[in-house]
């Protein structure tokens, strides 16, 4: 659009255009889910969040019936917090970076059912926090005296660590993984990658054994069946399957080593 006239023309063409949404809704954690269709006015460059806000502003479904507005979570609106992750057109992704212009319509939106659904698109992702606690995804530096600066990290390791550190616990990998289900207690791909990240850190290495032990324990790395959906859906392109293989190697060494040292 080089001139104002063209811009006006474009705006006129867009007015009256609608975005068709089909949303899987659920009123309570225990109630049955149901599909509801919505049509919201199109605006150039709008994302799925903008559509949901439009529904919030005017909570009327496609049939014209007034309904309770669709509930969802959001925070940063720039794909770094992970709060607005939902399944959009069969792909778990962030609603904020899901641009309507790039999506096929009708846009089908579902909550990530791997997690307990709280309401509509809001899910309870506390299992991810529990998984991070289990693998000790932190570096203990608190003490009664100054521990001084830790050892340095090589720049190659920094590069890898940076990639891994971009995980924002959005849950896309957990949603797509077939082995995170009712029959297993698998901690999920992201947690294995985080164990790798903290085991790489020169100070984090001091708790390496504990993290490996957690990966060999209940719901650990052996639950992975190499379906590799995680790496396909990760919005940050984190090499999750490489992390899993790296940690597989570490636990293999540890298992054999532990047995030979006894």
């Amino acid at each position: 659009m080089s001139t104002t006239a063209e811009a006006v023309q474009q705006t006129q063409a867009d007015s009256g255009r609608k975005v068709h949404l089909i949303i899987e809704r659920q009123d309570h954690p225990e109630s049955e889910p149901y599909w509801e269709e919505f049509e919201v006015p199109y605006r150039p460059g709008m994302n799925v969040i903008a559509c949901l806000m439009e529904i919030q502003r005017n909570p009327v479904n496609k049939k014209g019936e007034p309904v309770a507005p669709v509930t969802w979570e959001m925070n940063c609106l720039e794909e770094v917090c992970g709060a607005c992750t939902m399944v959009i057109n069969n792909k778990p992704r962030q609603a904020c970076s899901a641009l309507v212009d790039k999506l096929q319509q009708p846009i089908r939106i579902r909550p990530m059912r791997t997690f307990p659904v709280v309401r509509d698109l809001v899910v309870d992702r506390s299992r991810m926090f529990e998984a991070l606690k289990r693998i000790k995804a932190w570096i203990p530096i608190d003490g009664t005296y100054d521990l001084g600066p830790g050892p340095r990290m090589s720049s190659e390791e920094q590069q890898i660590a940076y990639e891994l550190s971009r995980c924002f616990t959005c849950g896309a990998c957990v949603e797509a993984c077939p082995n995170v289900n009712d029959k297993t207690s698998f901690i999920g791909p992201f947690a294995i990658s985080q164990a790798r990240l903290f085991n790489m850190h020169p100070t984090g290495k001091m708790n390496k054994e504990e993290r490996l032990q957690a990966l060999m324990g209940e719901g650990g790395i052996f639950e992975c069946g190499n379906a590799q959906n995680c790496v396909e859906v990760c919005p940050k392109g984190i090499p999750l399957t490489t992390s899993i293989a790296v940690m597989n190697r570490e636990v293999t060494y540890r298992a054999i080593g532990a047995w030979l040292r006894k």
Partner: protein, 208 residues
């Protein structure tokens, strides 16, 4: 105490690792041996009977059979059914290539499990002495022949794709490129082994 607890804690890890290991050693090795023994049928009935005779003359054959073949297959098969049962299946929603392979690995595993039981029942435990004629008799039946073809393809796929997965489970292939190349290599292995198996079956049926 802590060590005992840790061992208890790691039990499932060890069972799982034993499962992936047993699939390659010795079950996978036995599959290769079995396919190549059968392939001697391509050289005619006499060649096959000679190969069978060589195996029959091994010392402690029953012990070898039980410890290195029967027990590992039984463990790999039964534990594998459990693995297939606790796996989730979402290839309908997430139809990525590897996810489809994940499903196929489990489906071919179950087919192979049923196939092996039927195969053992009609050959090893049929009461007949192993010979070219005995196999020829069996595969002349069209339904049996078709079942054998399906079984051979399922077993060779399960083994080849399992090698790919084994390499990741044991931390051998780590990077994306290594895993992609291994995927191609294992699929070539699958085609080659399936071809050997099917060619042998045809040779048994044709009786050339």
């Amino acid at each position: 105490m802590a060590v005992a607890q840790a061992a208890q804690h790691n039990r499932e890890f060890l069972w799982r690792r034993l499962h992936t290991l047993s699939g390659v050693i010795p079950v996978g090795l036995f599959l290769l041996e079995h396919l190549f023994t059968n392939a001697t049928a391509l050289g005619g009935a006499a060649a096959f009977n000679e190969a069978v005779q060589a195996i029959q003359s091994l010392p402690l054959l029953h012990v070898i059979e039980f410890v290195f073949i029967f027990l590992p297959i039984a463990y790999h098969g039964v534990f594998g059914l459990y693995v297939a049962f606790v796996s989730g299946y979402n290839a309908n929603r997430y139809s990525f290539g590897r996810n489809v392979m994940f499903v196929l690995q489990r489906v071919t595993g179950i087919i192979t499990f049923v196939f092996i039981i039927f195969h053992l029942w009609t050959t090893r435990f049929s009461g007949n002495a192993p010979s070219f004629d005995m196999v020829h008799e069996l595969v002349t039946n069209n339904a049996y022949f078709a079942f054998m073809i399906v079984g051979v393809i399922a077993a060779t796929f399960h083994f080849s794709n399992g090698l790919w997965s084994f390499a990741i489970h044991w931390g051998i292939t780590v990077g994306r490129r290594a895993q992609r190349i291994t995927a191609w290599v294992t699929m070539i292995i699958f085609v080659a082994l399936a071809a050997v198996g099917v060619a042998s079956l045809i040779a048994f049926r044709m009786n050339v």
